[in-house]
């Protein structure tokens, strides 16, 4: 049996074991606490049919996506600005480090105060998380630029703009991607936390209303959906990365297909 097939088979076995354990828990402790795989599956289909799940998932994805764009793009550009202005970089450095250190989820109540209870506070929360992760990752890529490449390019006529475009930018892209890969699950998580605190839609809202109604099945439906979304997003990012970075030598060893790491 080829090793790949074997791996997939073993993965399937793990899935069966996890579902069996879940089933065992719901039998032992009762479906009121653990729901059950079957209940969740039927409810999932029901919620999908009614459009309720789709509506809420889109809302959460929207917050995560807007936040990732609005936080991630400036975070990718700022290192290029700072590369040419070391003084500004030195001044901002402790503040960026402090910003990175602030527990972002603790900012959620503040964002709700400022931006109300619609999409904006969730987007703000996602921005605050994605920005720092992508910024520090990209910055280390910009700092890791090969000085020899820069020298060679200068000698053959490259201006500062050409260096940024042809040497620093392509070199920093893998680092930016690493930042986005780490940030993606956090972005979804931040959107959900925002909804948990105050919202009338989204997967976080589904979890919250399920929990308050003792509707454990609904909670699990939302959790399963979130898990599937995060895995799917990771796969997409890894796919995009593999295509954009096809110039890289193949990585040694088995790399995770999910995280791409």
């Amino acid at each position: 049996m080829p090793a790949v097939v074997r791996t997939y088979l073993d993965r399937f076995v793990v899935l069966v074991v996890v579902i069996a354990l879940w089933q065992a828990c719901s039998v032992v402790f009762g479906t009121i606490w653990f729901s059950s795989p079957w209940l969740v599956l039927t409810r999932l289909i029901e919620e999908l049919r009614s459009g309720e799940l789709f509506f809420n998932a889109i809302y959460t994805l929207k917050a995560a996506f807007y936040g990732a764009l609005l936080g991630g793009i400036p975070a990718m550009l700022l290192p290029f600005f700072l590369r040419r202005r070391p003084v500004a970089g030195a001044i901002l450095d402790p503040y960026l480090a402090a910003g990175y250190g602030v527990p972002k989820l603790a900012l959620a109540p503040l964002f709700i105060l400022w931006f109300g209870i619609d999409l904006e506070p969730k987007v703000a929360l996602v921005i605050s998380i994605v920005f720092f992760l992508v910024f520090f990752s990209t910055m280390s890529g910009v700092n890791a630029v090969n000085a020899q490449y820069v020298n060679v390019m200068r000698v053959c006529g490259a201006k500062e703009r050409d260096i940024a475009r042809h040497v620093v930018w392509p070199g920093a892209i893998p680092y930016a991607f690493a930042g986005f890969r780490i940030a993606a699950p956090y972005a979804i998580g931040a959107a959900v936390v925002g909804e948990l605190i105050s919202s009338n839609r989204g997967l976080g809202f589904m979890i919250n209303s399920g929990a308050t109604d003792f509707d454990t099945t609904l909670v699990f439906v939302a959790l399963v959906t979130l898990t599937i979304l995060v895995v799917a997003i990771n796969l997409l990012v890894a796919r995009a990365e593999r295509w954009l970075l096809r110039w890289r030598p193949p990585q040694q060893g088995l790399s995770s297909r999910v995280t791409g790491a």
């Binding site: 090969n146 020899q148 490449y149 020298n151 060679v152 390019m153 200068r154 000698v155 053959c156 006529g157 490259a158 201006k159 050409d162 042809h166 040497v167 392509p170 070199g171 970075l245 096809r246 110039w247 890289r248 030598p249």
Partner: protein, 266 residues
Amino acid sequence: MTAAPPILEVKGLTKRFPARTGETQSPLILADLSFRVAEQEFLTMVGPSGAGKSTLLNIIAQVDGASDGEIYFRGELIEATNATALNPGWNCQIGYVMQDDNLLPWRTLIDNVTLPLKLQGRYDDAAAARVETLLRATNLTGFERYYPHELSGGMRKRASLIRTLAYDPPIILMDEPFGAVDAQTRGQLQQDLLRLWNHGRKTIIFVTHDIGEAIALGDRVLVLSRSPAKVIAEHRVEIARPRDLGNLYKLDGFGDMFEAVRQQIQ
């Protein structure tokens, strides 16, 4: 060839590295180094490892500043001692092939080779044809769309060589460009270089620590001392061109010159 006006003249070049904290003496890398290179001359410089050969080429290529001294390019003084006013490559007049191939890993072979021409706004049909010829001359045809990591060490070296040849700077500096390849590939690369040079006849300053290579390739060999580097001897290589590098060692005079240089380097 001595009658030809020098394309490059180096006068009293001195380089000190900044002193480490706690030490008063700053190490001297180049000490009052002077030499001339004639138009179309293939000058090789041989010296022990760590003698400051790379530093010398970095200064001529203007990616590093000197502490003192002057450099003239076709009679024109090149700024050398003011590090902030350096003009790397002197307006694309001085090409530089470094020890590492330094191909950009995210660009295919052809995109690497043509990048200097594009940056200089000179990538026209004539330039494309020229690149085509160079690719063929170095057996790289068919590999244009490959990324550097997919190419062998020798192929990358050749690509890095023709990246500089393609934009045709009048003078090319080479810093042990064939250092990190196996002996057989190295012999092939040397032969390729000589063939390309015979086509275009540009000025080359080729630095190496390999005495045989210095004699085999050069019109003239300068011997550099241990650090701080200065020119301690000069040998004119009278071997006729085109040279058959494989049989060079059998020629009269090669062994004597090799031995003389070896003694001087000690």
